[in-house]
Amino acid sequence: MSAFRLNLRDGVGTNLTDKTIRFSFDGKSFYGQQGDSLASALLANGVSIVGRSFKYHRPRGVFTAGSEEPNALVTLHNGGRREPNIRATEVELYEGLIARSQNRWPSVNFDLMAVNQLAGKAFSAGFYYKTFMGPARKGHRATQFWWFCEQFIRRAAGLGKGTTIPDPDHYARMNAFCDILIVGTGAAGLSAAQRAAKSGARIIVCEESARAGGALNGSPDFIDGEPARDWCADAVAELAEMENVTLLTRTTVQSYFDDNTFLAVERVTDHLAHKDKSIPRQRAWNIRAKSAVIATGALERPIVFAGNDRPGVMLADAARSYAVEYGTAPGRAVAVFTNNDTGWLAARDMAKAGVIVTAIVDVRTDVEDSIRALGDECRASVHTGWAISSAKGLRGVRAIVIAKYNELTGELGDESKTIACDCVAVSGGWSPAFHLTSQQGGKPVWDAELQAFLPGEPLQSWHGAGAMAGRFGLVQAFQSGEEAALKALADIGQAPSKRSAKVGPGPSIEGDEIDYAPAPVFEINSGGKSFVDLQHDVTAEDVRLAHREGFVSVEHLKRYTTLGMATDQGKTSNITGLAIMAAASNKAIADTGTTRFRPPYTPVAMGVIAGEKYGHLAAERLTAMHDIHLEMGANMYANGPWLRPESYNLPGETVEQAYIRETKTVRAGVGIVDVSTLGKIDVQGPDAAEFLNRVYSNGFAKLPVGKARYGLMLREDGFLFDDGTTWRLEEHRYLMTTTTAGAGRVMEHLEYYRDFVWPDMKVALASVSDEWAGIAVAGPKSRHLLKACVKDCDVSDKGLPFMGVVDGVVDGIAVKIARLSFSGELAYEVYCGAHYGAALWQALMKAGRKYDVVPYGLEALSTLRIEKGHVAGPELNGRTTPHDLGLSGMVSSKKEFVGSVLLRRETFSKGDRLQLVAVKSLDGQRIRGGSHLVAGSKEEPGRSQGHTTSTCFSPSPELGCYISLALLEGGFKRHGEKLYAANPVRDAHVAVEVLSHYMVDPDGGRMRG
């Protein structure tokens, strides 16, 4: 094929402007014009091979001019913006655009992987199942041969490669509401929009491409005496001006969900050379529409014939679009192959634009004279009752061989002719694009007259218009658009008065009158390799093979052959595949059925789905002391959504050196740590005490005012759920704290019992996590520190005993002080209103200066509690009970509580359950979290008997080595045993000794002191 740019003049290259644009493809520089798509610019430069096929690595060229493109997939951009599998037909050209072909090595023009073609038979339908499935091995049902071949196959298969570099762009999410959503802005969509907008309803109009108007943009017809394109531009401008209309171009409505909720993706900056960082790259629109008009048009389908994947074969309407809208001849000599009238129109339009149309081949013998006349108009040789038996040429079409076609039998006659051409524009009829309505469940219905599936009965409020609803042609489009708008208005209770509700005659149209129904011809079976699904390399023979092997349901056909499962989701191949299957099984297409479309309509960037929820775009939660932590040199660490200090490194210190120093200081002096991230719940009401008594496993009924208690919460199945302290502030008021990670789920858990299980209890719950800032003060000198700064209360051992709670004032800030210890040292938690958090921190640091106070981070916090044997997240893993963690004493036998009954299940009292122990490293090596505890050597480790959970280096004099909490089978009775902590992934096998998890101060003398 040798496409080239035509002489641009009025009506040729209507999409283009004079501005020249430089871009690169596979490292070579090319020039295109403003308004070009990447595909049209490549064609204009004579680039015919733009990619290689998925399985056989056959050369492939541009096949369509829209988002349904199966072949021309490219990788765009470099670095973090690199994006694979983008349809060149949809990419708007801009200065400096970088694109590369895919799935080829070393180059798209010379691809060594093309040897796969020689093994064609081996890669037929079900090849993988037949060759590689066998008795289970390594836990999979794969043969030895698979394990040998896997690495080669993985290298050879697949499309473009993504990037691991973070995406520099950001994405936005919009929540939009409207009365009527109109999808598509062709004649039908525009007409619906005009009618709906006139009524004053709030409407959103979405158009997939850059320019609204759909097929009107390339239409040779006249509307109200104006060229269709001009009429359309005026109509669109008028709509865009209206206050009740939101017109979104470059916006694909991807998904149709329940309750008339739609997801549309707007490509905001993809077409711009300069990416303004303040603007999101793409926006995800969640649109809730009361009703919708779906006017998504129809997709042309090909006729399948031998060699139909050669570069140069493309859909007729795409060829016409390249000639008329993009001023690009798709070839030097174009042959048109059709089974319907629209192929002839495409030929005439191309010829008018200056393309040489050498031949028109129509399988039908019965063609209207008015249509035949179009053939004369383009001075093409006309062959009705003939069909293409094959396309010749290796790296592009050089000629077609045509033969007499018997419409009754579908067989080819002996008589044949060869026609030289470098482009075949093929039209096999039109398939309505009802993907959206199929997504929401409407079952499509086969229309034998139109030879097309039409959308089924609506399950929600939507109305189809135009070609999507089988109403082909401009007159029908305008009429059905208005009808759909009126029905939608009626659905939302804004039906206009009877007089104005009449569908008008619509604008006057001058144009060709044709029949859109094609002859029921889907494939010319002449024996050669003919492709149904171009992207997944599924041939007509594969479909028949699947049938012969018993895969007769369309769902099985799809999965066995992978027909329609590529990134284009079979937009140009589904119906043809079905038709071939129906023919093979001697059934009507209507009885064969069709598969349901699933969202999204076209591939969507992960970033726009994730929006600002994940990764570097996610919102961060900061405590009131965040800025001070940074000033003091903290490394911040992401703990869920929170950013928390990991350690406060002195110059030259590593994280490990820092946390060891911080830990030692707390054990010997005093340190302070930000604990504001703990969940906090205010529990009030006359039944609050009883409520707490029911949700905690230990007793809470008798907790006196001014005291705190550590509590365990279980799930109903008896497993541990969360832990924390609850402070009784007043007779009927408590402050509950939860773990940082558990804050949200504990609140929901309590609300469930309050609202649903015990709605009669008089108890109110409120999350106050953000209202309080909290600082723990820990270490033997912590009381001195408090004495130096706390006023209006007694913090002596008598005034504030272990687990006591008092109100006080620090530097003018009202505080609550509870004597609690997570570290095992004498320690306090000091809470104040969140806005005073930073001031309180500074006051405590100042008061502690003479005691050499240090701030400490998460690592030291964790080290202190591991040494003490206090459990946290890694031990509360949803599979441990209080008994497993040595907390049986916290399980009350005097009451029933949430989880009490199922905790008594026999299995929970078995001695071989994983039980909490500690292990210490015997050989000086670090123990990694998640290491398996095994009895044997590295070579023969034996089975896993448990695993390590929380690990650290313990600087305490009694240990001075790497330690870890661990869950070990029957662990309580195994103290003193020697095992190994194995981490084969990191090549570690550490000799360890099992200890009691109470490693430091087991009798608790220090914290009670």
Binding site: N175, F257, D258, D259, T261, N286, R288, L459, R694, E716, D717, G744, E748, E751, Y752, R754, D755, F756, V757, P759, D760, M761, K762, E896, S900, V901, L902, R904, R905
Partner: protein
């Protein structure tokens, strides 16, 4: 899917948290039968048609709603408030 919160009106389902089958009711505190608790925790019908579900409007007013929903057509038949203030909302 959209749910009608008795306080806030029709809202997107993303604002709600699914809390499970609303037909499962917890045995009373004095019921210590392991079988009854097992049934409450684990036994669930998988109805083809109407299903009663408990949802919490977690990103809104945090009221619980019992949603009656058709598992075949996805139609939401009703949204009823539960909890201490349910009567006042009806």
């Amino acid at each position: 899917m959209r749910l009608t919160c008795p306080y806030c009106g029709p809202r997107d389902h993303q604002e709600f948290t699914y809390r499970g089958d609303a037909s499962a009711t917890r045995p009373g505190l004095d019921n210590t039968s392991i079988d009854d608790h097992n049934a409450y925790i684990y036994d669930r019908a998988n109805p083809d048609g109407l299903h009663r579900e408990l949802w919490n409007h977690t990103s809104g007013c945090r009221t619980h709603v019992i949603v009656e929903r058709n598992t075949v057509t996805h139609e939401v038949v009703s949204c009823q408030p539960v909890g201490p203030y349910a009567e006042q909302l009806k």
